[in-house]
């Protein structure tokens, strides 16, 4: 009797257990960053095969992608700076740069207040004079204790940030006389 | 067998045939007894009417159940298809009433049937597995071929001796007093 009972329980377990599979919930498609046993590094996201260039990614515009031409740091921007780009630059600067450099580029960001070595102020004459290509290099490759941001900020955005840094520098050292006359009234006020 | 709180529930009379029972029931009803019942092995036509049960509320209950089912079913479909999650299927109208008919019909029938059975049980006061008449000797024959008439003690006209007398006059085969707690 006991054997029959346990047999029934086993049968029930098989019947119930054979259900409840989540095959459609978890299909064989790999999600981003998912671990996968197939490759030695157990990473489903594969790096590019060395020396290949994905279609449409031939980054042969040195000015735009490297910030240097023939080993010489560039001055100026790959394309005319628009207001839209400046706003984009402010946006990106506030996300990625302001944590250390501070919202005005003073070098007093929140992380610095928490003990990170203070970066030089962006308003230093050295940096005001530095070619845009230098700034591009720093963002792309890092500088001193600063990590590279190439993986986080696209070249387009880097140029936008640089443009915005130029705006910050300009704003710090300008006087009321730099304001176009037709805008002056708005600033001085009645 | 001390008769502590042994109460008289009523009297039964046993008959051999349906005709006798019908005759007896008619007489008893005409005498003015109202708390009466008759027990038969099969439905005897006209008997419920003779003992004053002319109407059954079951049809009304089933009608109400059916209407409720129809309203609920159509309401549910309209709510789900046209209101809660309006989904375009092959360009057909959200409130595709021809396609809502089958379920409306099914639930009408379902609710009506369930209401009917519930009503039947309630009106018949079933389930009732314990009932005083079950203790009458020979009552088990009522589901085979015997017929019983029953007058309850709660009837205002009930008087044990006169009822017994009446039953005797009706030529009952056996007469039993039903006593119990």
């Amino acid at each position: 009797m006991k054997r029959i009972g346990s047999g029934c329980v086993l049968l029930l377990a098989i019947v119930l257990g054979s259900g409840c599979r989540e095959e459609m919930r978890n299909d064989s498609r790999l999600k981003p960053l998912q671990e996968d046993a197939f490759f030695a590094d157990r990473n489903s996201s594969r790096p590019l095969v060395p020396n290949t260039v994905p279609r449409g990614h031939a980054n042969n515009d040195d000015f735009f992608y490297q910030g240097e031409i023939n080993g010489k740091l560039v001055r100026g921007f790959p394309s005319p700076v628009t207001r839209q780009e400046l706003e984009r630059g402010r946006d990106r600067f506030n996300i990625y740069c302001s944590v250390c450099h501070g919202p005005t580029g003073e070098g007093d960001g929140m992380i610095v207040q928490r003990g990170f070595p203070q970066p030089p102020s962006l308003h230093d004459q050295r940096l005001r004079d530095a070619p845009e290509g230098h700034l591009f290099h720093v963002i792309t490759r890092g500088y001193g204790v600063m990590y590279p941001y190439a993986d986080r900020v696209t070249p387009q955005d880097r140029w936008a940030i640089i443009a915005y840094i130029r705006v910050l520098q300009l704003a710090r050292n300008s006087t009321i006389n730099d304001v176009p006359p037709d805008q002056k009234a708005r600033l001085t006020g009645p | 067998m001390s008769s502590v709180q042994v109460r008289l529930h009523g009297l039964t009379a046993e008959f051999d045939s349906a005709e006798q029972l019908v005759q007896a029931a008619r007489t008893v009803f005409e005498q003015g007894f109202r708390q009466i019942d008759a027990f038969t092995p099969y439905p005897v036509e006209g008997l419920p009417e003779i003992i004053g049960r002319t109407k059954s509320a079951v049809p009304l209950i089933m009608l109400i159940g059916g209407i409720a089912g129809a309203v609920i079913a159509y309401g549910m479909q309209w709510y789900a298809m046209a209101y809660y999650y309006p989904l375009n299927i092959g360009g057909r109208p959200l409130n595709s009433w021809p396609l809502f008919i089958p379920i409306t019909f099914e639930l009408t029938v379902l609710f009506s049937a369930l209401a009917g059975v519930a009503g039947f049980l309630f009106l018949s006061r079933l389930p009732c597995v314990h009932h005083p008449v079950f203790s009458v000797p020979g009552f088990e024959r009522v589901s085979t071929d015997q017929f019983f008439l029953w007058i309850e003690a709660t009837d205002p006209l009930f008087d044990e001796r006169s009822v017994r007398h009446l039953f005797e006059r009706l030529e009952a085969r056996t007469i039993t007093e039903v006593r119990g707690k």
């Binding site: 459609m24 919930r25 978890n26 299909d27 498609r29 999600k31 981003p32 960053l33 671990e35 590094d41 990473n43 506030n94 996300i95 990625y96 944590v99 929140m110 992380i111 928490r114 003990g115 990170f116 070595p117 204790v145 600063m146 990590y147 590279p148 993986d151 986080r152 | 999650y85 309006p86 989904l87 375009n88 049980l121 389930p127 009732c128 597995v129 314990h130 079950f134 203790s135 009458v136 000797p137 020979g138 009552f139 088990e140 707690k181």
Partner: protein, 219 residues
């Protein structure tokens, strides 16, 4: 013929008969409670992570923008998890000896990614895309809750299909101006529904019919 049952049997029988429907209703109700309980949905249940990362500290405390780490949230389906290097951008200099960051350092030195435990896991037949939601003006808070107040991350919402649909049917209840998408403390000024309708028009949100179609999420 002796009685088969005692008088009490009637009461018992009727109680059982009437009780059964109530029992059934109770069971269904209990199942509902289970289906919506944290046990089933994992809402509000902190998830163990190799590093006890605190959004509260980094977001509310330090004011770091969401996109500093989740870099692809505006451009791709996947919001992006920070690489170890992202952590090390700061932690190469501060808290360098902190034991809780040991596995981050280990990850860097071994060149092995940190194995985070997923908090928000959708079924694979759901094609969710962060970028479209961000672009149209759905704030992070709408799905992830006040993540700036979570010392350890947990699910703030069930992410059940019914929950998704609730918003897809009434997008105007959740829409915010594009500038406020990443603002975790934004509160609508004035009537949200009214404002939401304008925003929906500005963002070019399709008709409710289209965004509640099956193929919106299931391809």
């Amino acid at each position: 013929m002796p009685q088969l049952f005692s008088p009490g049997a009637n009461t018992l029988f009727r109680t059982v008969l009437i009780g059964t429907p109530f029992l059934l209703i109770g069971t269904v109700f209990a199942l509902y409670r289970i289906a919506y309980s944290p046990y089933a949905t994992q809402v509000g249940v902190p998830v163990d992570q190799p590093v006890p990362f605190s959004h509260q500290h980094h977001v509310a405390g330090l004011g770091i923008d969401c996109r500093y780490c989740h870099t692809s949230v505006e451009t791709s389906a996947f919001a992006g998890m920070p690489a170890t290097a992202t952590c090390m951008t700061c932690h190469s200099q501060i808290w360098t000896q902190a034991p809780i960051l040991a596995s981050v350092r280990e990850s860097l030195s071994l060149n092995q990614p940190i194995r985070w435990t997923r908090v928000h896991q959708l079924a694979d037949y759901v094609y969710f895309d962060h970028s479209i939601h961000v672009r149209k003006g759905i704030g992070c808070v709408s799905c992830h809750g006040q993540i700036d107040q979570m010392p350890i991350t947990w699910k703030a919402n069930t992410l059940q299909m019914g929950w998704c649909l609730e918003c897809h049917k009434h997008p105007d209840r959740a829409l915010r101006p594009p500038s406020e998408v990443f603002n975790l403390n934004w509160k609508p000024a004035g009537d949200q529904t009214l404002q939401g309708r304008t925003l929906a028009k500005q963002a070019g949100i399709k008709s409710i019919q289209e965004i509640t179609d099956c193929t919106t999420c299931h391809r």
